[in-house]
């Protein structure tokens, strides 16, 4: 016992020294495992996409990249942690449209769209409006007609979520009024559709693909038709120019060293162009949408400003 104490102390000292040594050599980034925070539970869309990216990124950077789930408050908890992480580049995160763009306006969260260094966009899933597979509604136009004559009830992932905002804009353009039935998960919205509690909900192609027997897409809120469902018209085609998508972006805290950010951006580009990443994303029904962080940042800020205006108009910002 007595004799082992000095050994332990020496060991601890050595460990500390090794730790410092790693930090001093910033050029050799990365020289220890990197963790990627996912602000949602395991098994969801962002989680699976992030794991796919983490595998490819490990290859590209030559260091282990592992996913850490920090769910809570609709993604705000994990996203706040990304913003507050050390700027050494060993704690990154994949955050999504709602927590990044909208949460800062509707809730009291300790970050804004400016709190991050943007590495790269990981995926961009256009949003489809999905109804029960045997529904008579078959197009955005039909949805507007339905909303005009009956009570349109739509699901979303919460007040002030991307889905909610998009439906507010659609209702506005179509001159109709819908009833918003908020829910916290895709599964709950799906159940409500099947039980005829709501007419439909905005969701991603991967959710529809998984539930092809029970759901059908009737319109997509992108500029062009999606290659995944080429027969489904865009909302814009039928006179409702609403453009929204669900995307995920790899970020780190604001103020990472320039060379670290450069390494990460290059690594992410390599990772996303890899065969393994592409084919996996395809299997998942997700659209790989690589975009460099430098290019994406102004877009994110622009979307954030537009969203803020819309939220204000809808009276969702107190």
């Amino acid at each position: 016992m007595n004799r082992s104490m000095p050994c332990l102390a020496l060991g601890a000292l050595a460990a500390v020294l090794v730790g410092f040594g790693g930090d001093a050599e910033a050029q050799s980034y990365p020289d220890k495992p990197i963790s990627v925070i996912v602000p949602f539970s395991p098994g969801g869309q962002t989680d699976i996409a992030s794991r796919t990216l983490a595998d490819a990124l490990s290859e590209a950077l030559g260091e282990t990249v592992s996913v850490v789930n920090r769910a809570g408050a609709g993604g705000a908890i994990g996203t706040a942690e990304m913003a507050a992480a050390d700027t050494d580049g060993y704690t990154l995160g994949v955050t999504a449209s709602t927590p990044l763009m909208l949460k800062p306006f509707v809730s009291d969260v300790p970050y804004t769209v400016d709190s991050f260094d943007y590495v790269c966009r990981v995926f961009e899933n256009p949003m489809f409006f999905a109804v029960k597979v045997d529904s008579d509604i078959a197009s955005p136009k039909a949805l507007a007609d339905y909303a005009g004559s009956e009570r349109l009830r739509y699901g979303s992932s919460g007040n002030g979520s991307v889905q909610h905002l998009a439906m507010l804009q659609f209702s506005d353009l179509a001159g109709v009024e819908g009833v918003h039935v908020a829910n916290s998960s895709d599964a709950d919205n799906l159940r409500n559709i099947l039980a005829d509690v709501i007419t439909g909900t905005l969701t991603s192609s991967s959710v529809i693909k998984k539930n092809e027997d029970t759901l059908k897409p009737i319109g997509v809120m992108s500029r062009e038709r999606s290659p995944i469902f080429p027969d489904v018209p865009t909302f814009a085609e039928e006179g409702f120019p609403v453009y929204y998508s669900l995307w995920g972006v790899l970020v780190g805290p604001k103020g990472m060293p320039e060379d670290v950010l450069a390494t990460l951006r290059k690594g992410c580009a390599d990772a996303q162009s890899s065969e393994a990443f592409q084919s996996r994303m395809n299997e998942l029904g997700m659209v790989p949408a690589y975009m460099d962080g430098a290019e994406f940042e102004p877009l994110a800020k622009e979307e954030s400003a537009t969203s803020k205006a819309l939220l204000e108009k809808a009276g969702l910002i107190q």
Binding site: S41, N69, A71, V106, D188, V197, N211
Partner: protein, 500 residues
């Protein structure tokens, strides 16, 4: 059908699949037994592995983990008064008193058999009735689910009749704790007092560990040295009651399994509601209700058969509609989808081999419970003979590790400690803890469905006439609340007739 069964068996007898199943059973039992670790962690850890496995092994691994980790949670409930999941909280009522009086081996035996029987029963039902049951589940909209939640909450009134006011108070504290954080319907933050980490709400595992494990340690430390006499040496091993016990107990098993299956199918109600409702029904229909809560083996049986029957039930909406009922089945479903299983009505018509593979795996995993229980019991029950300081220190360490591991959050440890003091205070003042947990677990479901029901159906009571299921549930709730009064009135009348 026969071809599909053959295909499923072929996949199953593959050596890798069997190894995966075995690994699932062993690891699941261990994870379940350790306080603080439970099915959600077991499945979350397995998910990344399944990405690189083929269909057979990944299904086997997930099913093995799923039902054994739920079972394992009950072992900790019995031996340490620490439910591994909220679903085992009702097992503490009778399991822990049995362990304290030296009958831990018998309690483990009953839990093991009860769990396996509940699980197998639900699989048989699932195999034949799933698509029909799934359609039935769709008749439960927000209004019905709200009423199911209220019904489960009302069962507290039967379980804790002796201390009704305190039990209701504890339930309300649980509901209040659950409302901290994000409003489940709107996504707004509330009751965080401007302190951001609270935006995630009070997470389940830290609350459960603090409330049960830490407060149990505090209680035992406080009474250390003047606790129960040394005479009650805990028996080691695995003991199953004789045939005479099962002659009356089979009724409880059958009833509890049915309750578990029904609640498993319904979205969001889950094993916690199932075990509480089933426990209260067993107590209500017992000839000797006062023995419940003091170590009645039938109480364990009721809770265990029900919470394990949920595993089969919960897979019904997941597989036949693609709607997982809780976060755990959601993760399982995600893993299955990545394996190329497409849930939905067509799964049963076109891919019966996949359905059968899942069912067979689950069935074998339930047999695995018997084996794991039989072999593990000697080890588990030995825990009771550990010197108390060692045991208590071990509980604190394991509870802390489990709490931290769930969300990698140090704040969760603070919550655990605070919940420990809360639990200790409540116990000292004679408040029961189980109602707090059931209030906490059911509050979000009750709230979301209540709000949605108001949005969708408005405030016109006519909706109860249009929705017969809702009306029936309403009658059941009134029945539960009025049952003691009615029973007393009927008893009084009988006595009067008899005396005449």
């Amino acid at each position: 059908m026969l071809n599909d069964a053959l295909a499923a068996v072929t996949l199953l007898v593959d050596p890798t699949t069997l190894v995966a199943l075995l690994a699932g059973v062993v690891v699941g039992t261990i994870i379940g037994v350790l306080p603080g670790l439970g099915p959600s962690i077991a499945i979350a850890l397995a998910l990344p592995f399944t990405l690189n496995m083929s269909l057979g092994p990944s299904v086997a691994l997930l099913m093995g983990l799923y039902c054994t980790s739920i079972y394992g949670g009950s072992v900790a409930a019995i031996l340490l008064n620490v439910p591994g999941t909220p679903a085992s909280a009702a097992t503490c009522f009778d399991g822990y008193p049995m362990a304290r009086r030296g009958d831990g081996d018998l309690a483990i035996g009953i839990t093991t058999i009860g769990s396996a029987m509940g699980g197998m029963f639900s699989i048989v039902i699932l195999a034949f009735l799933a698509p029909f049951l799934a359609r039935f589940a769709l008749r439960f909209g927000p209004l019905e689910m709200f009423l199911v939640g209220v019904f489960a909450l009302c069962c507290v009134a039967i379980i804790e009749r002796a201390i009704l006011v305190k039990a209701v108070a504890a339930g309300l504290v649980g509901m209040a704790l659950a409302s901290i954080g994000q409003d489940p319907a709107s996504g707004d933050m509330r009751l965080t007092f401007g302190y951001f980490p609270l935006a995630a709400g009070i997470p389940l595992v830290p609350l459960l560990m603090g409330l049960f494990a830490i407060s149990e340690v505090m209680m035992r430390v406080a009474e250390y040295g003047r606790g129960p006499a040394e005479g009650t040496l805990a028996r080691i091993g695995f003991r199953v009651p004789g045939l005479h016990f099962w002659r009356s107990a089979w009724r409880t098993v059958a009833k509890s399994s049915l309750i578990g299956i029904v609640l498993g199918i319904l979205p969001g109600a889950g094993p916690t509601a199932a075990s509480f409702i089933s426990y209260s029904e067993a107590k209500r229909s017992s000839k000797d209700p006062d023995s419940f809560g003091k170590g009645n083996p039938e109480g364990i049986l009721a809770s265990e058969a029900a919470n394990n029957a949920v595993t089969g039930g919960a897979l019904v909406p997941s597989l036949s509609l693609g709607i997982p009922g809780d976060p755990i089945t959601a993760m399982i479903l995600a893993a299955l989808v990545l394996q190329g299983v497409t849930p939905g009505p067509r799964l049963y018509t076109e891919h019966m081999d996949q359905v059968l593979l899942i069912l067979f795996s689950l069935f074998i995993a339930n047999i695995g419970i018997l084996v794991a229980g039989g072999f593990g019991a000697r080890l588990f029950t030995r825990v009771l003979r550990l010197p108390e300081p060692l045991l208590l220190a071990g509980v604190v360490v394991l509870a802390s590790v489990g709490t931290f591991a769930g969300n990698n959050s140090a704040f969760d440890l603070v919550i655990m400690a605070a919940a420990g003091f809360l639990g200790w205070g409540l116990r000292v003042l004679g408040f029961p803890l189980a109602p707090l947990i059931i209030g906490y677990v059911l509050a979000p479901m009750v709230e979301v469905n209540f709000k949605q029901a108001l949005i969708v159906y408005g405030t016109d009571p006519v909706v109860f006439l249009e929705r017969p299921v809702a009306a029936a549930l309403l009658v059941m709730i009134l029945g539960v609340l009025l049952y003691p009064t009615i029973a007393r009135a009927v008893g009084g009348m009988r006595r009067r007739i008899a005396s005449r």
